[in-house]
């Protein structure tokens, strides 16, 4: 498994792996790609599946989930990130007021240190109690 030897040319991989429907597909690929642009080397590709596979541990998944939802990569999930997430999830079906309400509520629920954005520890605390995080956050190869 000499990933470097097999390093492939820059490739858009996500069209191959059946994730066309995932609203976060771009984010996933960006998160796992080394250059942050969605170009995956073979190593990144393997990385992605090792994180998303069924047997990978909750901690790892949590970390990558956090990265995926952290759109602007400032290591905090702020309201803007939440808004983007929500709009992706609902295809923009909610009214702006509803979106604001949901974002505020989410922050209020999960934010433990009161900085009105979610740090990783907030996120982990919240996700560790979620019942279907593990079952939903994985792909089958």
């Amino acid at each position: 498994m000499r990933g470097n030897d097999l390093k492939q040319a820059w490739q858009r991989m996500y069209t191959m792996i059946g994730k066309e429907e995932n609203p976060f597909r771009d984010r996933i690929v960006e998160t796992f790609s080394e250059d942050g642009l969605g170009n995956l080397s073979f190593n990144d590709f393997v990385d992605m599946f090792s994180a998303l596979c069924e047997t990978s541990p909750r901690e790892l998944k949590t970390i990558y989930a956090f990265k995926i939802y952290d759109f602007n990569r400032d290591s905090f999930i702020c309201k803007e990130d939440l808004r983007k997430t929500l709009n992706k999830l609902t295809k923009g079906d909610l009214t702006p007021e509803e979106v604001t309400l949901v974002c505020d509520k989410s922050i209020e629920e999960a934010d433990l240190d009161g900085d009105s954005k979610l740090s990783f520890s907030d996120f982990e605390n919240m996700i560790s109690k979620a019942p279907d995080f593990l079952s939903n956050f994985h792909v089958r190869i």
């Binding site: 990933g3 470097n4 994730k19 066309e20 429907e21 984010r27 080394e34 250059d35 942050g36 642009l37 190593n43 393997v46 990385d47 090792s50 998303l52 069924e54 541990p57 901690e59 790892l60 949590t62 970390i63 990558y64 956090f66 990265k67 939802y69 952290d70 759109f71 602007n72 990569r73 400032d74 290591s75 999830l89 609902t90 079906d93 909610l94 509803e98 309400l101 509520k105 989410s106 629920e109 433990l112 240190d113 009161g114 900085d115 740090s119 990783f120 520890s121 996120f123 982990e124 919240m126 996700i127 560790s128 109690k129 979620a130 279907d132 079952s135 939903n136 956050f137 792909v139 089958r140």
Partner: protein, 959 residues
């Protein structure tokens, strides 16, 4: 090879910046190893020139089995995992040592103890190794095999070695061993263990694959050197097999789960509906499905024990009067109008009570049909009661109102609701819809919670609404009562004098009430302004009360009919008996004989009674059928036609039909649920008199499942305020239980008090229906059982039994109350704990003094993660800054931000207690790790920290 590799490793370690356990342990090991080498070398050189350090060390770390020396040329690591191997080794050791013992017994004993210690250690670490093996998996597969093969060869060679040589070796070993102190040995072992742990947990770390590979290689090399390869030969194969089987098992389990889900009928349909219309509408369909399941069992009971035996073993159609259409009806018996009234052939068919014969035992099996009929009739109620109550109890466990499902409603929905497995566009669309719907549901809940209102006005309005509705109910109740009274008067008058209106007054009033009242209630309920979920319950309860009036009139009419039938039956019975006597007298006087042959009359010509049971059954069947018709017509006209008109007339209409007045229909949850419940009541009441009704009902439920699903999906629009149904369907179940109880009463009453018809049905000829049971007890069961029944029905026994039950009820009630209280207390405590945690984090001044003190005590400087210098910026991060991805906001994605993106994942929570041992953490203090690290700083969290995932991070940063 070894010296070079060693240096390589050390460089790598520094390169990659391994921290936590890995880095320092690595460097420590380096140092120690070097020291050791220095010490060991001179001695060794004295004995063997060809020896090189690596092997040496390996041997030292291994159990000091003497024969090891035999494989000097290739530093063959020994497989510690392979049990058989180990045993063999042991045996070897013993064999050899027995030889050696002649020479030096003392040394040998020493050695053995050493050996054993080593083994223990290995046993402990076995698990670790197994995992690390897994990690290595594919990568090492080939290599491992090779190693295994070589090893086997080695072993063979070993055995051939002469004992004398081994003894020599032993001596060498001894001297080597002495060069290492006990403490160093232990430390080395620890290092190895740590490395192994690293290998095992490597996959849990959020590192890039490249780094992981490097680390893995290093760790593997290290462990290999000091302990041996991690797998070979048989053990390896076995392990691979195990892994494969585990994978297969997982796959099988998954398939099985899928299969199980696929076996749930209509699961997909219901999920579709749920995703577009919310859980409240889906709850109706779930209820419908549950009802279907219940009715399937009832159908099995009824058809399996009553209908099918009668068809297979009973007399065929036309053999006896009760199974034949009377002569005067035969001409019209096949007409559609007659059949649609369930007269004619239907009336004298297996569908109804009257068709069944009263033969005690039928067929070859001597099946006791009458007994079976009675028991099934009662058993249906018993089973239904049991199932309903059990379901209610189970649902109650699953809990609550559905409103509160934890502290993270929105966040969970936000972050965990998308299923990453979805790859199909249709499923994805449904998922989008369902996520949106569920968000809307929660938003409605939330808005209700937030609403700030004038509580006095609200209370006043609610009282007013209830008064209004009570007035409505009272009015309609009186109306029903009045109309029924009038209809009784009309019934005594001549039919021809009555107008159509007067004849159908009751039905007319009932349907009018059913049409007007529910919307009226809904309008009044607007005043109350309840949460839609609660409003639905109120609505259900109110319409239920209204429908009870319906039931009342229906039963009233039915009892009148039954009484009339009983009267006429008495006459007919007397007349028949009289006729029979007359015939006998005539016959005997005419032929002058006492032996009277039975009258030879065709079964169709026999005079027969009205058979009130069949009449009752017919009423129920007719009612059910008309109910089905009305429901389906309503859907077709009220929903489908309306939708079509709104949709297509909208192009040429003067106002917007879709948004304006008619619009599309909403799914009427309360009406449908109540319709279902009352229909089920009809089935329960009617099943005894019309066994075919159960089959009819199954058809109805089946078709309505498909039809209504279709109608909802293509003609209705979601409710304006989609709301979450209560987690359990217990309110529906409660209504169902009430209806079950209400329908139980008349049936039991008729069974216990009315006498069955004399010429039709399985109980004909009996005084009371339950006499069948008595008869069976008397004739077919042993005497003592009869005695038991006698005692059991003794009031002296029944009274204490009832008392006991009451006491048990009381006790259980008290217990459940206690549990409830405990539950509430626990919830409160949890809430408090959560609030406290939040407070603690919010305010620097902790509310929890103890925790604060503890934190102050922590050597927080040493807990600050390794400094930035240890970790060169990962290459991937740097590339980012130039070319930014389209997703990244220009403002937010500055360079500094990028630099720490990978890193400050682990931004530690300042007030978080340390709960996790991440190994010693060294690092220069002063690396500010506040909650919001400034750009450029704060890399210190490091990737190593990321692994811990912020659960327990270092103390607060105090530079």
């Amino acid at each position: 090879m070894p010296p070079k590799r060693k240096s390589n490793i050390s460089i790598n370690i520094e390169d990659v910046g391994m921290e936590v356990d890995a880095s320092d342990s690595g460097s420590e090991v380096e140092a120690r190893r070097k020291a050791k080498n220095r010490r060991a070398k001179p001695q060794r050189k004295a004995k063997r020139v060809s020896d090189d350090d690596d092997e040496d060390e390996e041997e030292e770390d291994e159990d000091q089995s003497p024969r090891k020396r035999g494989r000097k040329k290739k530093a063959k690591p020994r497989d510690s995992e392979d049990d058989e191997d180990e045993e063999e080794d042991n045996r070897n050791v013993k064999r050899k040592s027995s030889k050696a013992s002649r020479k030096k017994a003392k040394d040998e004993s020493d050695e053995e103890s050493e050996d054993e210690r080593e083994k223990k250690k290995k046993g402990a670490s076995k698990k670790d190794k197994e995992e690390s093996n897994k990690e290595k998996g594919k990568g090492k597969g080939k290599q491992g095999k090779d190693v295994g093969a070589e090893k086997d060869k080695k072993k063979k060679k070993n055995r051939k070695l002469s004992s004398s040589f081994e003894e020599e070796e032993e001596e060498e070993e001894k001297s080597d061993e002495e060069s290492l102190s006990e403490g160093e040995m232990a430390a080395l072992k620890e290092e190895v263990e740590e490395k192994k742990k690293l290998i095992a947990t490597l996959r849990n770390k959020p590192w890039r694959m490249k780094r992981r590979l490097t680390l893995l290689k290093e760790a593997q090399d290290f462990v290999e050197k000091f302990e041996g390869a991690l797998g070979k030969g048989k053990g390896r194969k076995l392990f691979a097999f195990k892994v494969m089987m585990a994978k297969k098992l997982i796959k099988f389990k998954r398939d099985f789960e899928n299969f199980k889900t696929a076996c749930i009928p209509w699961e997909r349909k219901i999920k579709d509906v749920e995703s577009h219309f919310g859980s409240s509408v889906a709850s109706y369909f779930i209820f419908l499905r549950w009802m279907y399941g219940l009715n399937m069992v009832l159908l099995g009971l009824m058809f399996g024990l009553v209908v099918v035996p009668e068809v297979l073993m009973g007399l065929p159609y036309g053999s006896i009067p009760r199974k034949t259409v009377p002569r005067e009806e035969q001409a019209t018996a096949m007409d559609y109008s007659v059949l649609s009234d369930f007269e004619g052939y239907f009336k004298y068919s297996i569908l109804f009570y009257g068709y069944y014969n009263n033969e005690r035992q039928i067929g070859l099996l001597k099946f006791r049909l009458p007994l079976s009929y009675l028991l099934v009739g009662v058993g249906i109620f018993g089973y239904s009661l049991m199932v309903v109550i059990r379901t209610m109890a189970r649902n109650a466990n699953e809990g609550g109102d559905g409103g509160d499902e934890g502290d993270f409603t929105f966040s969970w929905k936000m972050f965990t609701s998308w299923d990453y497995l979805i790859g199909n566009s249709e499923t994805a669309d449904n998922k989008y819809a369902s996520i949106t719907t569920s968000f809307k549901e929660s938003i409605v809940d939330e808005q209700m919670n937030q609403k700030d209102e004038n509580i006095h006005l609200r209370r006043f309005l609610r009282v007013l609404a209830n008064v209004l509705i009570l007035l409505c109910l009272g009015g309609s109740g009186y109306l029903i009562y009045y109309v029924v009274k009038r209809s009784q008067v009309f019934a005594n008058m001549n039919k021809d004098d009555l107008t159509w209106m007067e004849k159908n007054e009751v039905e007319f009033v009932m349907s009018l009430l059913g049409l007007v009242c529910p919307p009226l209630f809904e309008a009044i309920a607007e005043l109350e302004d309840y949460h839609p979920r609660i409003a639905l319950k109120w609505q259900l309860g109110r319409i239920f009360a209204l429908f009870l009036g319906n039931l009342y009139t229906f039963l009233f009419a039915l009892f009148d009919e039954v009484n009339a039938k009983l009267e006429s039956e008495k006459d007919i019975k007397n007349a028949t008996i009289l006729a029979l006597h007359e015939y006998a007298a005539n016959y005997s006087s005419f032929y002058n004989t006492t032996v009277v042959p039975p009258q030879n009359v065709h079964p169709a010509d026999v005079i027969r009674g009205p058979c009130w049971e069949t009449a009752v059954g017919k009423e129920f069947v007719k009612l059910t059928v008309s109910d089905i018709q009305v429901t389906y017509l309503t859907i077709l006209v009220g929903d489908f036609l309306r939708a079509v008109i709104v949709r297509f007339l909208n192009y040429c209409w003067c106002w917007d039909l879709e948004a304006g007045f008619p619009s599309y229909g909403e799914f009427d949850i309360s009406g449908n649920v109540l319709g279902l419940i009352f229909n089920q009541g009809m089935i329960w009441m009617g099943a005894f008199y019309a066994p075919g009704l159960v089959g009819l009902n199954i058809l109805r439920l089946l078709s309505s499942m498909y039809f209504q699903c279709w109608a909802v999906m293509c003609t209705n629009v979601p409710h304006e305020r989609v709301f979450k149904a209560s987690g359990s369907n217990n309110f529906y179940m409660g209504l169902l239980l009430l209806v079950l109880f209400l329908s139980l009463l008349p049936v039991v009453y008729t069974i216990m008090t009315l006498s069955p018809s004399f010429d039709c049905g399985p109980f004909s000829g009996q005084e009371k229906m339950y006499d069948v049971v008595m008869e069976t007890i008397d004739q077919d069961l042993p005497a003592f059982i009869g005695n038991i029944f006698l005692y059991a029905t003794n009031p002296g026994l029944i009274m204490p039994a009832v008392l006991l039950m009451v006491l048990a009820l009381y006790y259980l009630n008290a217990v459940s109350k206690g549990y409830q209280q405990a539950n509430i207390d626990l919830k409160k405590k949890m809430q408090m704990a959560r609030d406290e945690e939040k407070n603690r984090r919010n305010n620097k001044d902790s509310t929890n003094q103890v925790m604060k003190d503890l934190e102050d005590l922590l050597p927080n400087k040493s807990l600050i993660p390794p400094a930035a210098e240890e970790e060169p910026p990962p290459p991937d991060v740097v590339v980012d800054k130039g070319s930014r991805s389209p997703k990244v906001k220009p403002g937010a994605a500055g360079k500094g931000v990028h630099l720490q993106r990978d890193v400050s994942l682990a931004a530690p929570n300042p007030r978080d207690p340390v709960t996790r041992d991440l190994g010693p953490r060294r690092g220069p203090p002063g690396n500010a790790m506040g909650p919001q690290p400034g750009p450029g700083k704060g890399r210190g969290g490091g990737r190593g920290g990321g692994r811990g995932g912020g659960r327990g991070r270092g103390g607060p940063p105090r530079p």
